[in-house]
Structure formats: structure tokens, C-alpha cells
Amino acid sequence: MATASVSAPFGHAQVYGAGLGFDYIFAAQEMEIELQDMLDVHGMGVIALRGDLAGTGTDTIRVEDYGNIGWSLPMTAMANETDTVTPSPIDLGYESVTVGQFGLSHKETYKGQVLGRQSAVKLDRLKTMVPQSWLATFRARVTLAGSGITTAVGSASTTLSVDDWFDLSTAYKTNLGNRRPGTMLDPQQFDELARSFRTEPAFTNSASELAGIMGLMTGDGGRIAQTHPNFAGMGLDISLTDDVVQSGGAYQGFAFPSGGIGWAVANTSPITPANPVNAIYLPNMGLFIEELTDGSGQTIRGYRATAFFGVALGSTRVNTLRRVISTT
């Protein structure tokens, strides 16, 4: 290697110019991850598992419901001691959940494995993050399902307000038998709702109450919370996600009682892959991760994750479901 004559004074510029310095070095801390929507709807336990379709011969499961029985069917008072008791009918119905197939993969070259210095982007590390991708996909299915709810509160022409929140509360007070409801809103809807609460007398005259409404709450890992249990003491839990659907110039947030939206899985344990080495099965998610062998002989290693699951609304005979809409 040619040498360079460095004249006095020996400064950083001269040493750097001689090829002995760095443009930059990497910080010793762990690689930082970008801002992400980390709402784990599956972990909240409010989406009911309807069943496992593996080995059933179909991709659709029906959830049956019945009514006009029990609490809904009072006995008939007999006018006369010999009157005939007319047999009563019962109502039968069902809702369906259909599974879809989902996929994700990454690849890296052997040279990348040999020379790479950052373990965070190596294939084995990326494989460990597949369950997070599954949870994000699951959450997106839940918000798509919620956008299909028939009855709505709020308006496509106005921002979300306290009055709309009271209307939602009324829906659950007047439809008896529901479990405690939760809502999923776009962060913009939540901010509008909080600002609307802010102008209520109960919150304008109390600094602590105001902070409870408008303050930033921290959640897991010190990140800003995406869940607000019993927001404003109104008995409705709020979860925030960017996945809320927008349609017709309006956010399609929604509310549902626990179990009001269901999901089905097809567990992947029957899969026998071409390359069983390092195959990972997560049957409760319907998830399967396999190593790929590149048939072309290229020095490439890859993995492919495949999942089978589906989400659908529950029966409106069993659950009170509402879309919570507001203008974008």
C-alpha cells in the first residue's frame, strides 16, 4: 500500500486523508426499530377463537346461535285449567368464518452471512419477528371485519364527539345481555374525542381530570399507550390503531363486546415440508415457518412463513355491534 507523507502539524484531516480514518462508526447500542403500530389485538383476548379447520375438508366454519328460548321465552299464562299449551318455535341461525392463506419471506446471500456485521438483520433474527408480522396481519383483519358492521353511531360529516360517545354507551345500555364492550378507533378519532371531552365542565375545572383525558399515557416498554381502559370513566375501552379503514371520507372505527368478533385457524401441524430441517410450527396461530432450498444452486438462504386463519363478525343476534364513524 502506498504511503502518504503527512506534514506538520499532524491534524485529523491529514491522518484521515491518508486513509487511516473512518467516515463513521456504528453506535454500540442495539439497532433501533422504526415507529410501528404495536397494538396486539390477539393478546387482548377479546377476539373469540371459533375453531380449528385442520383436517375438516373445508375452509369455512359455522358458528351456530339460537334464540326465542330461556330468558327470551316467558311462559304463557293459561286462562283455563284445561287449555292447550301451544308449542313454541325456536330461532336458529349461524355466522361463518372463512380462513385465508398468508405468506411472508426473506432471503440473504452466503456472502451477506459471512461479512455482515449487524445480527439484527440476519435471517435467524428476522424469523423471530414473524409472529409480530402475524399479529399485524391479524389486527388488520379485525379492523376490516369491524368496518363491515351494519349499524353506526357518529356521522361521516362530523368529527367524533362526546355526544357520539354517549350514543354508543346508550346502545349498550339499551341492548341488554352484552359483555363489556371495547372499541377500536383511528388515533385521529381518539384525539377528536379527547378534545371534545376536554370542553365538558367536569374536565375543564379539574387539572387532574383534564390530564387524564388529554395527557399522554405510557404503556408497555415506555411507549405511548395504544389502549385506554375505561376511557373517561365511561365503561368503554379504547384501542388505537392505524389499521382502521377509511371509506367515503370517514373513519370506520367500531365497537364490539368481548367475543363479538371471532376468528378461526387451520393449524399447520399436518404440513410436511420439502425441507423439514429448522421448520417451525406455531399451530395455535396457524403459522408455519420453513427454510427454503434454492433449486438454482445460488448461494442464497431463505425462509418462508405461511399462515392460515380468518376473522369475521359474530352474530348480531348475540352481540351488539356498532361502527363508530367520523369524518377524516
Binding site: G148, T151, A156, S157, T199, E200, A202, N205, A312
Partner: protein, 306 residues
């Protein structure tokens, strides 16, 4: 110091050729023609309406009630949409036709994306072929290329580099389209109870006592709510109606035999009122052959979606 003049590269009579003539633009200076929207690809969707869902207009000259229309995104694994089998690769509609059929039984009315839109129902410069539009896109992080599906009234907005892509929604033409849906017979007019419920809800918002609020703030809030109530009352008293001309067209075609209806549909002259025809036939004679002919005509447009 005076700046010396550059020598003439090609003086008269010089045998040296013009060097500048050999200069060409560097290939590194060529700008790529690729202009892709920086968003993640997504699936197409159908728009649908349920008879209980209405909204009041905010941009129309005459306030009225408009049908609330929502998306049904054709993504597998949600609301009955499934992943097609290998032998269904050429029939993408198989993924969602069962889901659509079940939703129609629950009272949803689907709007076919094959229906052209009147020019006054789309934003200026937007296509009128369909409410479903697509634009080539590239995920800003993964660089995955694909197609982004959006409503024709939803337009990409100017965004600063590094920010998430934003969109604007052209409400004026959207509300004109919603009104046209009723006037053309694709959506049934609202029942009077719809307007009454909206009015009662708005009155309830005004009646809610707000003790302790600053009088000026309270007056301002009440005024805003009353203005909204006034708008809703005017809208509820001006319900949209199907235009007589559209009713006549439906009636004359459906008076014919099933074979004649099928032949008339093949001409394409009734493509802009297929949904209205389907609803009228189901509500009237409900002949299986006629319903099938209309559904097949609708289905011939929807084969490419998904």
C-alpha cells in the same frame, strides 16, 4: 484583470472537427421515468349500502339525505372472503362471491364497479369508468411494487419527502354521486323513519344539560348543534327520489320475456342500470331466469377484480 476570451474551438478553415459535436448527455444524467406512489399495495374493494345507513349532505345546494356507502375490501381471511384454489386461478370472483351472496341476504346492496359514473359525480379530471381506481405504487420501506386501490374521489395529495402519503377526499362530487345512486334507482330512497331518527338524535344532543359550562362557550356549542339540527331537518324533509325516467326504463324491459331480457342485456344498452333492474325484478316478478341473466351481465364485468 480582464478575463481572457476562450479560443474558438472551430475557427474558420481549421481542419480540426467541432469537439462539442461529439459531446452527449451522460446516462447518469437521465432521470428515471418511474413515478410510483409511496404507499403499500392493497386489495380492491366493492362499495355497498345498507338501507338503515344514511347521512345528511353537507355540500349539496339542497340539503338531503344520502345513502351511506362503505367498502368491502376483497382481502382473504375476513368476512367470508377466501384464498382461491389453484383451479380457480382464472376466476378471482370465486374468492368473494359467497361472501357477497350472504351479505345480500342480510340486506346489503352491492354497487358494481363496472358501472360508469356521470361526469359531474367525479372530481375534475378523474376517470368516469368506475368508482374503483388504481395507481401503481411502491412501499416506501420494503420497495415492494404493486397497485394501490382507491375510490375515485380519493386523490393523492402533495406530500413532503419523508412523510407518509396523504390523500384528499372530494366531498362535493362524492355527494353528487350518492344522490345519483338514488335518482338512478340503484339504491332505494330512504324510509321517513331514517330522517326522524336523525332528528331525534340531534335534538337529544341539544337537550343534554351542560351545567357549569362558561355561558359564552355554552351558547356557541348550542348554536352549532342547532345549526346541525336545522340542516338535518331540511334534509329529512327533502328526501331523494328515483327519477321517473329510470323507473320507466326498468319497467319496459322487465315486461318482456326472459329470453328477450337476456338478448337486450347483451347489447350493453342497459349496463348503466343493471343494479336497478336486478332490484326491480327481485321485487316484482322475481323470475329465476331473468335474475340469472342480469347477474351474469353484472358478473361479466367483475371477473377481473381481486
Amino acid at each position: 484583470m480582464p478575463i481572457p476570451a476562450l479560443p474558438d474551438p472551430n475557427p474558420k478553415g481549421s481542419p480540426v472537427p467541432d469537439q462539442m459535436a461529439a459531446v452527449r448527455a451522460s446516462k447518469f444524467a437521465k432521470v428515471s421515468g418511474e413515478r410510483l406512489l409511496p404507499v403499500a399495495p392493497n386489495n380492491p374493494f366493492l362499495l355497498r349500502h345498507h338501507e338503515g345507513n344514511w347521512r345528511w349532505s353537507t355540500t349539496l345546494e339542497e340539503p338531503t339525505l344520502l345513502p351511506e356507502v362503505t367498502k368491502m375490501v376483497l382481502e382473504p381471511g375476513v368476512n367470508g372472503v377466501r384464498t382461491t384454489n389453484e383451479n380457480e386461478r382464472d376466476q378471482p370472483q370465486k374468492a368473494y362471491e359467497q361472501a357477497v351472496w350472504r351479505a345480500e341476504k342480510d340486506g346489503w346492496v352491492y354497487l358494481t364497479p363496472a358501472q360508469p359514473l356521470p361526469a359531474h359525480c367525479v372530481p375534475p379530471g378523474a376517470p368516469t369508468d368506475s368508482y374503483l381506481c388504481e395507481i401503481d405504487c411502491k412501499h416506501p420501506l420494503t420497495t415492494l411494487k404493486g397497485v394501490y386501490h382507491l375510490e375515485v374521489w380519493c386523490q393523492p395529495a402533495d406530500t413532503i419527502a419523508g412523510e407518509a402519503q396523504k390523500f384528499t377526499f372530494h366531498r362535493e362530487s362524492y355527494e353528487r354521486w350518492l344522490l345519483w345512486l338514488v335518482e338512478s334507482g340503484q339504491v332505494a330512497p330512504p324510509k321517513p323513519i331514517i330522517g326522524q331518527r336523525m332528528i331525534e338524535r340531534a335534538k337529544g344532543h341539544i337537550r343534554r344539560p351542560i351545567r357549569g359550562l362558561d355561558p359564552e362557550v355554552k351558547a356557541e356549542r348550542i348554536a352549532a348543534l342547532k345549526a346541525r339540527l336545522d340542516l338535518i331537518e331540511r334534509a329529512a324533509s327533502n328526501l331523494p327520489k328515483q327519477r321517473a325516467a329510470n323507473r320507466g326504463a326498468s319497467a319496459s324491459l322487465l315486461d318482456q320475456a326472459v329470453s328477450a331480457i337476456a338478448a337486450a342485456l347483451e347489447t350493453g344498452e342497459h349496463d348503466d342500470s343493471l343494479i336497478a333492474l336486478l332490484r326491480a325484478e327481485r321485487a316484482g316478478k322475481d323470475r329465476a331466469g331473468a335474475v340469472k341473466a342480469i347477474e351474469n351481465r353484472i358478473g361479466s364485468f367483475m371477473g377481473g377484480a381481486g
